[in-house]
């Protein structure tokens, strides 16, 4: 059952925000909707929750058509980016609010509230005023309050944006753990790819009011459907070449694909992620810039008029530097190669104006040795 959205359309002041969007989430699943700011993610949440009315389309939750229901009857609870804790109530009252609405008894409410506070690791803070809490604490109260409403569907709208990095990670993991315990169908809106990759069962890539691709994190990362989809999850490098007789030929050499794609012979491009490219002494790529990022070094090179982005782990970088006696310097020339064990090659038609280009792969094997 779970959530099933079909052909949802929503416009605002003559601008279409959601364009015939379809999505389905299994009951108990945790999915992320990943997209840049302005692609309509928050609008999607509001439409699901009933705060906005779509022009057309279907929203089914556990088989029930909720599109006709007012927001308070849908069981779809949003945790907003700005948390929206009620300033005129203390922590306890905030959490009790949805329970009061369901007309639970005083004792039951108190009991549940204590439970929830323990669940979010804030025991005993019931009497505090909202403004006395830290950002992380407020976040957890907001979660507890959402849970108190016994949601059928939990919607998190960029819920961790206001936090610093460590806290963000912690909260993300926290929500995931909560999900494992409670198994509430959850939809997380985010623009941070690491979060989406780390926390979700499946990721929906959203752009321009549509879902571009919807799959598990691994498959989306390694088998993106298009250049646009690929760009969501990290940087990409493209190598032009030719597909002939089951192998891809380019300046990187020959890459055998395995059977199945012979029909697509012709010019195409190979997509490689920064970690899939290695660097060696002597070649025709010029190092333009390098930057240290703690766990890795990011290198920007130029080759045949194209810019390449590489990512070397710090230990690799140090090993390479040691082998040549000094660190790679800007302006020097190096060779590049495709690393072993880079997974199935991702091929796209050559880039043309306005054509995003659908990706086709060497025979895709689901879950095969990534």
């Amino acid at each position: 059952m779970g959530l099933s959205i079909r052909d949802l359309c929503f416009g605002f002041k003559e601008e279409e925000v959601l364009l015939s969007l379809s999505l389905s989430v299994e009951s108990g699943e945790f999915i992320s909707v990943l997209g840049k700011s302005g692609c309509g993610k928050s609008t999607l949440l509001k439409v699901i929750a009933g705060l906005l009315r779509p022009e057309s389309g279907e929203i089914l939750l556990d088989g029930e058509n909720i599109a006709a229901l007012p927001p308070e009857k849908r069981g779809t609870v949003i945790v907003f980016q700005d948390l929206r804790l009620f300033p005129n109530m203390n922590v306890f009252e905030n959490i009790a609010f949805p329970m009061k609405l369901r007309k639970l008894s005083r004792e039951k409410i108190r009991e549940r509230a204590e439970e929830l506070l323990s669940l979010v690791e804030l025991p005993g803070l019931g009497r505090r005023r909202i403004r006395e809490l830290s950002g992380g604490q407020q976040q957890r109260v907001a979660l507890a309050r959402a849970l108190a409403a016994k949601p059928r569907l939990l919607l998190l709208d960029e819920a961790f944006s206001g936090l610093d990095e460590t806290l963000r990670r912690e909260m993300g993991d926290f929500v995931r753990r909560l999900h494992e315990k409670k198994r509430i169908t959850t939809l997380l809106i985010t623009h941070q790819k690491d979060e989406a990759l780390r926390l979700s069962d499946r990721i929906a890539l959203m752009s321009g009011g549509r879902i571009l691709q919807y799959d598990t994190p691994e498959r989306i990362y390694h088998c993106p459907k298009s250049r646009e989809a690929a760009s969501f999850l990290g940087e990409t490098n493209y190598f032009p070449g030719e597909l002939r007789g089951g192998s891809f030929f380019s300046s990187l050499g020959e890459i055998p694909l395995g059977s199945g794609e012979e029909e697509r012979d012709g010019r195409c491009e190979l997509m490689l992620r920064p970690q899939e490219i290695g660097i060696r002494e002597g070649g025709d790529s010029i190092l333009l810039r390098k930057s240290y990022e703690g766990e890795s070094w990011k290198l920007l090179l130029e080759r045949e008029g194209r810019k390449l982005r590489l990512s070397l782990s710090s230990s690799e970088y140090e090993a390479f530097s040691r082998s040549r006696g000094r660190e790679p310097g800007e302006g020097e020339r190096f060779g590049i190669f495709r690393r072993e064990g880079s997974g199935l090659p991702v091929l796209l038609p050559p880039e043309t104006e306005g054509e995003p280009g659908e990706v086709f792969h060497g025979k895709e094997k689901a879950g095969a040795g990534f």
Partner: protein, 265 residues
């Protein structure tokens, strides 16, 4: 230097108010004495003797102004919502219309309104006067509450809705308590405007609706400064008392317990 200025200012404000006490008991204060020559309690006694009648005037005035304030604030809250959260044709026009009473002196309106009310039951009646008081207190409430509603936004209500509250419940549990300080300011302003009305009450009330101001002016115009001072003093004391009560209620409620009060909806 700044503080000295402000202290001087405070004195300029407070001294005239204190001097009222003097004036109440003054019987004769011939030139050029600095202090009054004859004191008496005549004004005081005479007024006490008429306490019943005065009490009526009090009651009418306070009730009238409380009602005017209440309705002004209520209407301002509603129209504030309409303007802040909805888009509709004619929005700018209506916004301007709401502020029109600022531009038209109440004397001008009163004379026109009297014509309007003359043949109806509204003339020379409390409801008629009430309507006009509301009309002139409304713009003050409007400017305060329009801004305030817009500043508060719909966010909290949206959150309450998804947590299971219906639209009415969401408003009362979450928006209203947070609007409360502003409501109080608007209420106070509306009250002050209403209680100060003289000309309008006189004209629309046709002499039959007696408020403080209406009753006070004849004493001011005659030589009976002591009576005038006494009435003024009583007026100010009562008004200040009413305000303390307001503030007390406000403080008690915005201690966060407001949510409890409304949670029985």
């Amino acid at each position: 230097m700044r503080k000295a200025f402000l202290i001087l200012l405070s004195l300029l404000i407070l001294l005239p108010l204190f001097s009222l006490f003097f004036w109440v008991f003054t019987e004769r204060w011939p030139w050029p004495n600095i202090l009054p020559k004859d004191f008496s309690e005549r004004a005081l006694k005479s007024t006490i003797a008429r306490a019943g009648e005065l009490g009526n005037v009090f009651f009418t005035s306070i009730l009238l102004s409380l009602l005017a304030s209440f309705f002004s604030v209520l209407i301002a809250v509603l129209s504030g919502r309409a303007l802040a959260f909805y888009d509709f044709p004619g929005k700018r026009l209506i916004s301007s219309l709401m502020l029109l009473p600022f531009l038209v002196p109440s004397t001008v309106f009163s004379m026109g309104a009297q014509i309007l009310f003359l043949k109806t039951a509204l003339y020379s009646s409390i409801p008629g006067v009430l309507l006009c008081h509301i009309l002139y207190s409304l713009p003050y409430a409007n400017i305060l509450l329009n801004e305030g509603t817009r500043a508060l936004g719909e966010g909290l209500e949206e959150q309450a809705r998804v947590l299971g509250a219906g639209p009415v419940r969401a408003f009362f549990s979450v928006s209203l308590p947070n609007l409360f300080p502003l409501l109080l300011s608007a209420f106070t302003m509306a009250y002050v405007i209403s209680i100060s009305q003289y000309f309008m009450t006189l004209l629309i009330g046709g002499g039959r609706v007696k408020t403080f101001s209406v009753v006070m002016v004849p004493y001011l115009q005659s030589g009976e400064r002591n009576f005038a001072a006494l009435y003024a003093l009583i007026f100010l004391l009562v008004t200040t008392l009413v305000f303390f009560i307001f503030e007390g209620i406000a403080r008690a409620c915005t201690g966060g317990r407001r949510a409890e009060l409304f949670s029985d909806y």
